[in-house]
């Protein structure tokens, strides 16, 4: 037996070895050697960056974007805040004032700030702007080459702080290219890039920064990036708002949702980009210091992004408006809101996200029109809109959530949205029958006698809430007798989306500035001139491949009015009415992001009560929150 004993000694030794190295709890979240109370740790939703050492953001997808690079190290002319902004939605960043167009929108002048410096001490001037544009035009395959090449005829630099863009054709939205909504054309450091022979093969490591932070260190395996506040932070565009709170920023791969929650419970992750609703609830329950955009339920930050059931309108079945409407009338949005967000959704019946400034601009004013809105089922006219559904969701949640659920109708509208279409299987049946569909026993046949089957493509793991919404909608359609199936596309989604390889899809084809009423950001790409023939790839964002002469007219009018022109709102409403009648996509809700913020080390995060910026940490716009963050105690 001696040998057995010795063998157990061996085993014990190994076990011991494990424990000794295991020592105290230290997940990746805690930078062992940085002052924690001066460090802000944020999640970079890109996860692990395979090409960690690549900082040349102007080469397409060569490396990471939201590892802090575009948030705190790069800068461009203007920012539009998806929320209300620190002083207004519009911020002149590198530009000293708003863009100046000539009357026919063939020329745009940008006046630049003085006293802005690159982190290596070189001053930022118009030369950098011009170099940025010229270089990308010269090298076709850079990130913004195409749009710049299409628009810019030539540029002039009357003085080092003024750039005049001469445009190839009139474009009242040219400045949008240099206006950050998530990102924009970032300005290149001329003095660095002009030294390299091929700007596509240059890794720009270590990056020279125009923002308030410089790269401190990064993980060659791409799991974390640490940025350090510049000593001369006053010489950056952010300097106007005072000294940023955190001296260090750590953008980390926080792993799958569960691990993010665990990490924040251990206070090793100050800002979670997104988690499953249940994760957020768990945090709210178990960690006093964690909160979301809303202090209580529904926590999530509504991105100016409209989640919808997108039809492939080039598919025979969905060419017919009646079919699209019928399917819409079969959706019980309350159940979808529950299934996807556990109720923490902000619903929208119309084609703009119910977020930022839009509810005041569009949803509110259009309530009366919606209430009056009628559709003809062939047998009768019905008023499908139910303005109280937001209210109903609130009531439905109140028993379980208690006083977290607001009572003031305005609050409820802001939180859960206003109204939606009420489920009406009867009308749906009538519409389908008018469209030539027939019900056999418990299931539906298409006009050409095949069984009516609909595949609903969802991305899956990457966007769990949409997958859930999808499976709920599938269930509701199935129960009506349609052979509906969920189809998880995982990584193939982008390909299939642009190839039009889907019947319907839970995704978004509407994205807006959020803070600004102008809809051109997405709407311009809906023009029929861009609709690809079946089979060939469709450029963003008209994934539904829907074309309509009235829509084209509206778009062309928008192009001809200025960005801030109130006429834009009127045209926006026309668009909304059109898509309400046509239902090319079934708008569901805004894309609510469960960004969880931990106040153990930092306070002053943006929130629904103080919506000065978008906390979602991979947005370029999230940089504004840094100047408001204060160390706790």
């Amino acid at each position: 037996m001696q040998s057995t004993r010795s063998s157990f000694l061996v085993a014990a030794a190994i076990a011991l070895a494990f424990l000794t190295v295991s020592g105290p709890a230290a997940a990746q979240g805690a930078p062992s050697n940085l002052p924690r109370n001066e460090t802000l740790i944020l999640e970079n939703p890109e996860g692990t960056v395979e090409n960690a050492g690549w900082f040349n953001i102007w080469a397409i997808n060569a490396g990471s974007q939201s590892n802090g690079l575009q948030q705190v190290a790069l800068d461009t002319l203007w920012y539009i805040d998806p929320e209300h902004g620190i002083d207004g939605v519009w911020d002149n960043s590198l530009a000293a004032e708003k863009p100046i167009y000539n009357d026919d929108f063939t020329e745009m002048t940008a006046k630049l700030r003085r006293g802005i410096y690159w982190s290596d001490g070189v001053e930022f001037t118009a030369a950098d702007v011009i170099y940025t544009v010229e270089t990308q035009i010269k090298n076709g395959a850079m990130r913004w080459s195409a749009p710049l090449a299409l628009n810019v005829a030539k540029m002039e630099m009357p003085d080092p702080y003024t750039v005049v863009f001469k445009l190839k054709k009139p474009n009242s939205r040219f400045h949008a290219l240099f206006t950050v909504r998530w990102d924009a054309v970032w300005i290149m450091p001329k003095h660095v890039f002009e030294k390299v022979e091929d700007p596509l093969k240059f890794d720009f490591n270590k990056p020279v920064s125009l923002g308030a932070y410089v790269l401190n260190s990064y993980d060659p395996d791409g799991k974390w990036y640490i940025w350090k506040l510049r000593d001369d932070w006053q010489r950056t565009s952010l300097g106007r708002f005072g000294k940023p709170g955190p001296r260090y920023l750590a953008y980390v791969d926080a792993g799958p949702p569960d691990k993010r929650v665990i990490a924040q419970m251990k206070h090793e992750l100050d800002i979670i980009h997104d988690v499953a609703p249940e994760g957020m609830f768990a945090l709210a329950r178990q960690s006093k210091t964690s909160h979301g955009w809303f202090k209580g339920f529904p926590f999530a930050h509504p991105d100016p992004t409209l989640v919808a059931v997108i039809f492939n309108t080039q598919n025979e079945l969905f060419k017919n408006r009646d079919v699209r409407w019928a399917l819409a009338l079969l959706i019980d949005i309350k159940a979808v809101a529950m299934a996807s967000y556990r109720g923490a959704a902000t619903i929208s019946a119309i084609g703009v996200p119910p977020t930022g400034a839009h509810q005041e601009t569009y949803h509110g004013p259009m309530q009366d029109w919606l209430k009056a809105f009628e559709i003809d089922t062939g047998k009768r006219k019905i008023k499908p809109y139910d303005p109280t559904i937001g209210q109903q969701i609130a009531e439905m949640l109140r028993p379980s959530m208690g006083e977290q659920i607001p009572t003031d109708p305005k609050e409820i509208a802001k939180t859960f949205g206003m109204g939606w279409w009420k489920p009406d299987p009867q009308a749906a049946q009538e519409l389908l029958e008018r469209a030539g569909f027939t019900k056999r026993g418990n299931s539906w046949d298409t006009p050409d006698g095949k069984s009516f089957s609909v595949r609903v493509v969802v991305e899956g793991e990457a966007r769990p809430v949409m997958a859930r919404a999808g499976s709920m909608i599938v269930q509701q359609w199935r129960q009506f007798g349609i052979d509906a199936k969920i189809d998880t596309a995982q990584g193939t989604l982008p390909t299939r989306r642009s190839a039009g390889d889907f019947d319907t899809m839970i995704s978004w084809s509407v994205e807006t500035w959020g803070g600004h009423q102008d809809l051109s950001f997405f709407l311009d790409s809906w023009h029929s001139q861009f609709v690809a023939p079946p089979g060939s790839p469709q450029p963003p964002r008209n994934w539904q491949r829907w074309s309509n002469p009235d829509l084209d007219r509206i778009i062309e009018q928008i192009r001809s009015v200025a960005f801030d022109d109130p006429k834009g709102i009127g045209l926006g409403k026309e668009y909304i009415k059109l898509v309400a009648r046509e239902m090319p996509t079934i708008p569901l809700m805004s894309y609510n992001v469960f960004t969880a913020m931990d106040e153990t080390y930092w306070t002053g995060y943006p929130s629904a009560d103080n919506p000065y910026a978008n906390p979602v940490p991979n947005w370029g716009n999230s940089r504004y929150m840094l100047v408001k963050l204060k160390p706790k105690g």
Binding site: S3, F8, R143, R181, P539
Partner: protein, 334 residues
């Protein structure tokens, strides 16, 4: 010696066959992937930002030639084999223009390290305990071990990893549950970094070990319980050779030989385990790299990783095979 050469030649032939079939399988499948790297890139580049449709078309055109996705299937196939031969898989499409080789070279040490350590521990421990259990068949503690082994052995890597994750990451959070090392530590041969690496590798390694142990344990146990009945063992016992000597030089030594060939057969499965484990624990190895590559529809990278894993697994097998004669003097006669 001639016997050995023949043996070696046979093994090497097998090795080549494995690599050939394996790589072709991978190539064919990858080619059939529906993912279009161009669309993938564009989607990434434009998923949030502003971008006008004409611009996208222009982008699409230039990317297509930049990525060099041209040429007939046959041409591409030949190019592919040249690349395999020269171990140069060209630039990664999802991290263009960084060469695939560079990405793999970055990830490989992690996986190899993890696998080497866990496999060694598993093999040594499993066989040691299994052998003892087979030799001292009356020992209670070893019987208990056997039951545990039976309980753990059939459970798939993922489940074990998940349970470990729950226990040590959540219920009793004493161990890091993701990453390869703590943040902001410069990589290199310094105590801090290595210590951190060790600590981060505990759970991944443990999940591999727990699953692997049982197989070796049970295998060794039954082998030994047969070998103790062999004439030369009985004879040695009757000759009063010390038990220790019998246990190590007669029983263990001889039982280990089939286990060793078993190791060769098991390597592939062990590698599968590594992929899963790396994914569960966010370990920066080739497994994680492969999954990302598949998501990104990065032909070059997927092929690179798959080929690399097939080749290195077969190399492992080859190494075991050709070192086998050193352990078993009889092999030359086979």
């Amino acid at each position: 010696m001639r016997g050995y050469l023949q043996y070696f030649a046979k093994r090497f032939g097998q090795f080549l066959l494995v690599v050939f079939i394996g790589i072709n399988l991978a190539y064919v499948i990858t080619r059939a992937t529906p993912i279009d790297p161009i669309e993938q890139s564009i989607a990434l580049a434009t998923s949030f930002g502003n971008s006008s449709p004409e611009a996208i078309d222009a982008m699409r055109r230039s990317l297509r030639e930049l990525y060099g996705l041209t040429g007939t299937p046959i041409e591409q196939y030949l190019i592919f084999w040249r690349r395999v031969a020269t171990a140069d898989f060209g630039p990664s499409l999802s991290a263009f223009p960084t060469p695939v080789g560079a990405l793999i070279a970055r990830a490989l040490p992690w996986t190899i390290g993890l696998l080497a350590v866990s496999t060694l521990i598993t093999f040594a421990l499993g066989n040691l305990l299994g052998g003892l259990a087979g030799y001292y068949q009356r020992s209670r503690s070893l019987k208990a071990l056997g039951i545990i082994a039976i309980g753990l052995h059939p459970i798939p890597y993922y489940i074990v990893a998940l349970v470990l994750l729950i226990i040590f990451g959540f219920v009793w959070p004493v161990l890091p549950i993701s990453g390869g090392a703590a943040m902001n530590l410069p990589q290199g041969f310094n105590a801090a970094f290595l210590g951190s690496v060790a600590r981060h590798s505990i759970l991944p390694a443990l999940s591999l070990i727990l699953v692997g142990l049982g197989g070796w344990f049970l295998g060794m146990r039954s082998l030994v319980s047969n070998i103790v009945a062999e004439d030369y063992v009985v004879y040695a016992e009757l000759a009063g050779v010390e038990r220790r000597r019998i246990l190590w030089s007669y029983v263990m030594r001889n039982a280990l030989l089939p286990q060793f060939t078993g190791l060769a057969m098991a390597l592939g499965g062990i590698f599968n385990g590594a992929i899963i484990t790396e994914r569960v624990f966010g370990y920066p190895g080739v497994g994680a790299l492969l999954v990302d590559a598949v998501y990104a529809g990065d032909y070059g990278l997927v092929l690179g990783v798959t080929t690399m894993s097939i080749v290195s697994v077969s190399v492992g097998v080859l190494v075991i095979d050709i070192s086998y004669p050193l352990l078993d003097p009889r092999v030359e006669l086979k």
